[in-house]
Amino acid sequence: MKKNLGILGILMVVFMATAYGSESFFTPYNLFNLVERSSLYGIIGIGVAFVIITSGIDLSIGSLIGLVAVIFPFVVVDHQMSLGMGLLAVFGLSLAVGVTQGLLITKLKLQPFVVTLCGLMIYRGLARWIVSDKTMGYGDESFVRLKVLVGNASQLPGCASLPGAKHIPVVFLILVVLGIAAAVFLNKTIYGRYLLALGRNEQAARFSGINTTKMIILAYVICSLISGLGGLLFALDYGSIQPDSFGNFYELYAIAAAVLGGCSLRGGEGSIFGIVLGAALMRLLMNSISMLGIDDQLEPTVIGFVILIGVIVDQLVKRIAAHRRAVLQARQASS
């Protein structure tokens, strides 16, 4: 919690500044959208956190999101199959991707960066080829039942009359449930402990009797499944999918959210709450840039600088903490 104070602070400052500088920022419509998009990024950030914790990386998330977003209407609309078959295709595919990448990384000892970089290209090409680059829509009435997932909470069964429910995006609720599940898994179960341990030192973890191969594959599977879920939600929300670009760079946003949230790319560290804050900060920045009338073209530059400042501050804080600890240590040693 203490570790996340810094990013929480930045989040508040940007929030206040934008609210002060723009009249349309603090409107129910804008805030709803902001929370919804932040939640979507938060979801895929949680997914990638699992592989980052093992000191791995997944660059294929954006392409997998694109592929999933294309496959779903391809199965349900183009091939007139049931929604169930569509979901099976989405999650079956995600599972297969996770298992395959995990096996290549653990059994063949390939580097995660390389494996998932290949995945990034392979899945993107497949997404475009399957539908011949045709724009895929989610307007079909077979999707109506699923659309509730990207609506507001008042549309959920039995929630129509709850006060304030229509200001709460359903994806936010999904994020909360997923976030709590992920945090419990990482911090309160032995498997989470195994992941953290092997992320720090895989060899020592193996020497302690942990089946590191199985745990690493599990991490990639979790990441791909969450990416698949994220892809589905993104697609339902956006409604119209360009196979050649949908999901581009999402993996980098997810990784940035994880890093902002305290994950180290060296593995073994990360807080789910921090990652959610990191995702929120990124979405907030995008929103602020358009609200405050800053040139759109500068959006990536601004985000890049904020992330850079974030990690610099984090590094400085760590150094100060390490120095304090050394002093404390010396005192204890002398007494």
């Binding site: 032995i190 402990r193 020592a204 973890a205 302690s208 009797g209 002093v327 010396a330 005192r331 040693a333």
Partner: protein, 500 residues
């Protein structure tokens, strides 16, 4: 005539602790001064001051009678002082020659003059008795030779004061002897050496004088004819230690570990058969590269055997991973503590709890953190691990305490067979003694202990029976009565016929 190096009343304080308190020391020309003392006694601080890494708060250092201010490594080098660090500072991917001249490459027409490097490093390698091409990649050399390359580098800056920090801690007996020869050779050519070591045997052999550090002060010096093992230990701990190895005679029980016709990747073509009984301490001696660590790794399921089998308490095992070995009641304290034994960045309690997490599992894989905490606290108390609390991150503990964490994590699993690989490497004399006492205690409780050690004294002191390995084979087995340093060396060098 003033001494080559003199340290007068040097004091160094760190926040809350006085690392060096009014330390004085001299070093004559062509002298080997051994610096001994427990970890934390101030040896490394003094060494860093002499190497120009840290400045003293008070006191004066003079080289050849001239007061100097050693405010950087470069200044120290200009005063012809060179430090050889315990963890070698070589770039393993570069050649021997490139390492020797790293940062001082001779230049010809704007490019590195490789010919000059080759010629000059060839001569330097000759001085340290290394007969190899300067174009050899450092990584391909055994540690002992890398150490000699490091010395050649120090000579290349024309050092006359060489500070060596535990140079032999990872060398085999054979490599150690070679290194000692090189140091003697340097001394005869006028180089002075400050030799820091925990190994009292080699100190006694090598040193002209011994300075013993205790609690940041020079606790006393011994001249050449006063140097004995007992005197050194006495000065180091400040009290008389009559019995260093807490040995009692053991009454071994039934065979706990049975190894039959085992062929490991390191000893292809040779089959190893031996057994260890419950309550017995068996040592494995031999030179580095004899295949001892590899043998333990096969017994622990890290690497798989080529053929043969392993049984614990009569049960044949299928060892495909450390997990299988742990389930069969085998534990390993590995040689490479920091890479394989512990997770440095994690808390003491997390490390201790790691192999036994399954025991602390509630329904659905949820961790019973209360039990984990109390179990680890109990283990910290039992092992007398010096740590402020069980949440302390392991990397901030001393080497000895880190090793106790490794032992503690396995003891919580109640192993039947305990494998120890160089269990006391790089830890101070106090912690060593505690680990020996613990081995005794465990043997008494019926644990079968198999330990690999390159420290002759340790093998002689601790083992009920000793297996000696040479190039992947077991060349002999010595009982307590047959056990002498000479007998071990004969077998370790493959001189099997010499043993009756």
């Amino acid at each position: 005539m003033s001494p080559l190096l003199s340290v007068e009343s040097v004091t160094k304080r760190f926040p809350g602790v006085t690392a060096l308190n009014q330390v004085s020391l001299t070093l004559a020309e062509s002298e080997v001064l051994a610096l001994i003392g427990e970890n934390g006694a101030g040896k490394s601080t003094l060494m860093k001051i002499l190497a120009g890494v840290q400045l003293p708060d008070e006191g004066q250092i003079s080289v050849a009678g001239v007061p100097v201010q050693l405010d950087s490594v470069q200044t120290a080098q200009r005063n012809r002082i060179a430090l050889i660090h315990q963890e070698l500072n070589l770039s393993g991917n570069l050649t021997v020659g490139a390492n020797i001249f790293l940062g001082r490459e001779p230049i010809k027409r704007g490019l590195i003059d490789k010919r000059k490097i080759r010629e000059d490093s060839g001569a330097l390698l000759g001085r340290v008795g290394l007969n190899l091409s300067p174009d050899t990649i450092v990584d391909t050399l055994p540690i002992g030779q890398q150490q000699l390359v490091e010395i050649a580098r120090a000579l290349s800056v024309d050092a006359r004061i060489l500070i060596m920090d535990e140079p032999t801690s990872s060398l085999s007996q054979h490599e150690t002897e070679r290194l000692l020869e090189v140091v003697k050779e340097l001394r005869s050519r006028g180089v002075s050496v400050i030799y820091i070591s925990h190994r009292l045997g080699e100190v006694a052999e090598l040193a002209d004088r011994v300075a013993v550090f205790r609690d940041g002060a020079n606790a006393g010096e011994l001249s050449r004819d006063e140097i004995t093992h007992d005197r050194m230990v006495q000065l180091m701990v400040g009290r008389d230690i009559s019995q260093f190895y807490a040995r009692k005679p053991h009454q071994p029980g039934a065979v706990a570990l049975q190894v039959t016709e085992l062929e490991t990747p390191a000893n292809l073509g040779h089959r190893l058969s031996f057994s260890v009984r419950a309550g017995e301490i068996v040592g494995i001696s031999g030179l580095v590269g004899a295949g001892r660590t590899e043998l333990l790794h096969v017994l622990f399921g890290v690497d798989s055997a080529v053929s043969g089998h392993v049984a614990v308490n009569g049960q044949k095992l299928r060892l495909r991973s450390p997990r299988d070995a742990i389930q069969a009641g085998i534990a390993l304290v590995p040689e490479d503590r920091k890479q394989q034994g512990i997770i440095l960045e994690m808390a003491v309690r997390t490390n201790i709890g790691l192999p036994g997490l399954r025991k602390h599992q509630k329904t659905g894989g949820l961790l019973n953190t209360n039990q984990e905490g109390s179990d680890s606290a109990a283990m910290i108390a039992r092992m007398r691990i010096k740590t402020p609390n069980e949440r302390q991150v392991v990397q901030f503990l001393s080497g000895g305490n880190q090793q106790k964490v490794v032992l503690g994590k396995w003891l919580s699993m109640n192993p039947k067979v305990l494998l120890l690989d160089e269990p006391t490497r790089g830890i101070d004399i106090g912690a060593k003694q505690e680990i020996y006492a613990l081995m005794e205690e465990l043997a008494e409780q019926g644990v079968a202990i198999l330990f690999v050690s390159s420290e002759m004294e340790e093998v002689l002191g601790m083992s009920d029976r000793t297996l000696v390995m040479h190039e992947g084979r077991i060349t002999g087995e010595l009982t307590r009565d047959e056990l002498t340093e000479k007998a071990i060396m004969q077998l370790a060098t493959g001189n099997v016929g010499a043993h009756p």
